[in-house]
């Protein structure tokens, strides 16, 4: 084995240890709730906690709604930009990347200033308004991932010709989007959706500042008040993220089989 390869292996191992050791430590700690032996007691307590169930359920619903709204905004936009405004693409891409450079705290403060109870559109004044606000906030956070995924998906199909083929068969714009474009970028939408799901489930800043009892604030509250359960929660949250990543892989892998050569 050459020196080069030895070093490569060394760095891989080093990286893995660096990454896995804290995880392992946290996992081990989460098993120590019962004195003197390993058990899943902390997990049992967490999963049994009605607070966990309501906050987690709430976050799941928010995540799913975010995905729906995100899809409805991103797919037509990315499609239109590809079809009619190719020159606007760098600009649109830049806009979709903004949430990565503007901290969520800035966004949410902006929202609160714009939509507080003494504004023209007092969204924060009502429960439903606040939820609408947080959904749009989450959609913003999801934009970079959703847009990228969908745009890549659109690259794989001949958008212009498929559109014309559908038009000559009598399809309207809505029909084209629903029956031709969306089904063909569904895999991309899904991979964007899993990422969005993982982000929304763990999101803290928006929920805390808008005073919503989602999973994020619950985790933080747990962290401040309990010993073993936060570790169990962290492992669970981590697990969710990993499952989402795994699903992305699965979906992309699956898609390679159905669309092998076109």
């Amino acid at each position: 084995m050459s020196a080069k390869r030895i070093w490569a292996w060394f760095f891989i191992l080093f990286g893995m240890v660096y990454f896995l050791l804290p995880l392992f430590g946290m996992f081990q700690f989460s098993l120590k709730m019962l004195r003197g032996r390993y058990s899943f007691e902390a997990y049992r307590v967490v999963l049994r906690d009605p607070q966990f169930q309501t906050t987690f359920g709430y976050s799941v619903v928010l995540a799913l709604l975010t995905i729906v709204i995100g899809t409805l905004i991103v797919v037509p936009t990315a499609y239109w930009v590809r079809l009619k405004l190719p020159r606007a693409r760098p600009f649109v891409e830049f806009v979709t990347l903004l949430p990565l450079v503007i901290p969520p705290i800035v966004i949410v403060f902006g929202y609160i200033r714009l939509y507080n109870t003494s504004s023209i559109l007092p969204l924060t004044g009502s429960w439903i308004g606040t939820n609408i606000l947080v959904l749009f906030g989450y959609t913003t956070l999801a934009l970079p991932y959703m847009y990228r995924a969908v745009d890549t998906g659109l690259r794989a199909i001949d958008v212009a010709t498929l559109t014309e083929a559908a038009q000559s068969l009598g399809a309207s714009w809505v029909t084209i989007l629903a029956r031709v474009i969306l089904p063909n970028v569904l895999v991309s939408v899904l991979s964007g959706a899993f990422l969005t799901f993982a982000i929304v489930i763990g999101e803290y800043v928006f929920a805390a500042l808008l005073n919503l009892n989602t999973f994020g604030p619950y985790m933080v509250w747990m962290g401040g008040n309990r010993a073993y359960e936060p570790s169990a929660l962290a492992v669970i949250a981590f697990g969710i993220t990993w499952v989402c990543m795994g699903l992305i892989q699965l979906v992309t892998h699956f898609s390679k089989h159905t669309k092998a050569k076109r």
């Binding site: 199909i157 001949d158 083929a165 000559s168 068969l169 009598g170």
Partner: protein, 351 residues
């Protein structure tokens, strides 16, 4: 008034005029080809008929109804693309039924019509496959079936055979023509392949730089080209420079031989261009081809059943084809030769 009319169509892309004063009347059930070199505006004309581009000026009517300004999805026009453009997420049957589903036809009728269309294109067994499971030729048949299923008023095909290999191209073009005749559908077919255009069409429109250079039956286009461009673009052509000696009797001088065309050449003076197809020239004397010209053989290409020979007539060079006969070897390069042509086969070109 014909079924499909294009009147004084003009199309500008920015400052460039891509289609110029384009006129065409197509009868119901007619098969028209637009033939021309790359970039001459064939696709643009077709896309204006389909509604994907709007003409800068001019009129398009189908069955007496004005099409300009009507959205593409309301024109009832079937379109077949070079790149097939099948919906990858739908099966063959769903692809063919797409237009009918959009038109809200009931399920049973759709199923019947899809089966019928797939049978016509010879893919009855393939309804449940996905496009990526088909060969290019099969995909293009599906695209044809899909375009025809909603019974459009007009069928447009933009180089549908260009992406296929040579053998499929020939068999599919015959099939397309047979289906077109059977259904009696008015068709415009775009191609840059002259053999395709000549073999399939009722009439051919030869396009050049955005104008219709000549419109006519394939035989007419080939045998009686009216412009120099058509003469050169369609088929192989020999061009001879000649000097007019007497325009009234039609006497011209080719090289140093005086030739009587026996028809007046109104308004012609000085040098003119004469065109000659390779197949109307014989090597050596021939009955019925009374004009003889002397020259020297400069090239001999043995192509199997045909031998293509180039002869230098002193300034003009002429290509001619002779059939191979097993008992006489091909003539040698450098030998003197004499060719004979008939006066009526010497076409006088308008420049």
């Amino acid at each position: 008034m014909s079924f499909l009319n294009l009147e004084h169509l003009e199309k500008f892309f920015g400052p460039t005029r891509v289609v110029k004063d384009f006129n065409l009347s197509v009868e119901k059930g007619e098969f028209i080809s637009l033939l021309g070199p790359s970039g001459c505006g064939k696709t643009t004309v077709l896309r204006m008929v389909a509604g994907f581009e709007s003409p800068t000026t001019g009129a398009i009517t189908i069955d007496g109804q004005n099409m300009v300004g009507l959205a593409a999805n309301r024109r009832k026009i079937g379109m077949v693309f070079q790149a097939y453009a099948l919906f990858p997420n739908l099966t063959v049957a769903q692809n063919v039924g797409f237009g009918l589903r959009i038109a809200k036809v009931d399920k049973a009728t759709i199923a019947r019509r899809v089966a019928e269309m797939l049978a016509i294109v010879g893919l009855g067994e393939f309804g449940n496959r996905f496009p990526f499971q088909l060969s290019g030729g099969q995909q293009q048949r599906v695209a044809l079936a899909r375009a025809l299923a909603p019974q459009p008023q007009v069928l447009l095909l933009d180089e549908p055979l260009s992406a296929l290999d040579a053998k499929i191209r020939v068999s599919l073009r015959e099939e397309i023509r047979a289906i077109q005749k059977k259904l009696g559908i008015t068709t415009i077919f775009v191609t840059h392949d002259q053999e395709e255009a000549l073999s399939m069409s009722d009439r051919v429109v030869v396009m050049h730089n955005g104008i219709a250079s000549q419109t006519g039956a394939p035989f007419e286009i080939y045998s009686r080209p009216t412009t120099r461009f058509v003469a050169e673009f369609v088929g192989t052509l020999n061009l001879l420079t000649a000097t007019v000696i007497d325009a009234d009797t039609g006497t011209v001088r080719i090289g140093d031989t005086n030739v009587a065309l026996n028809r007046p050449l109104p308004g012609k003076t000085g040098t003119i261009s004469l065109a000659l197809r390779p197949e109307v020239v014989t090597l050596g004397p021939s009955a019925g081809r009374e004009i003889t010209l002397k020259g020297r053989i400069t090239e001999v290409h043995f192509l199997g059943s045909v031998i293509r020979i180039r002869i230098d007539l002193g300034g003009n060079s002429v290509l001619l084809d002779t059939f191979n006969t097993p008992d006489t070897p091909p003539p040698a390069v450098g030998t003197d030769a004499e060719i004979s042509v008939a006066e009526r086969d010497l076409m006088v070109l308008e420049d």
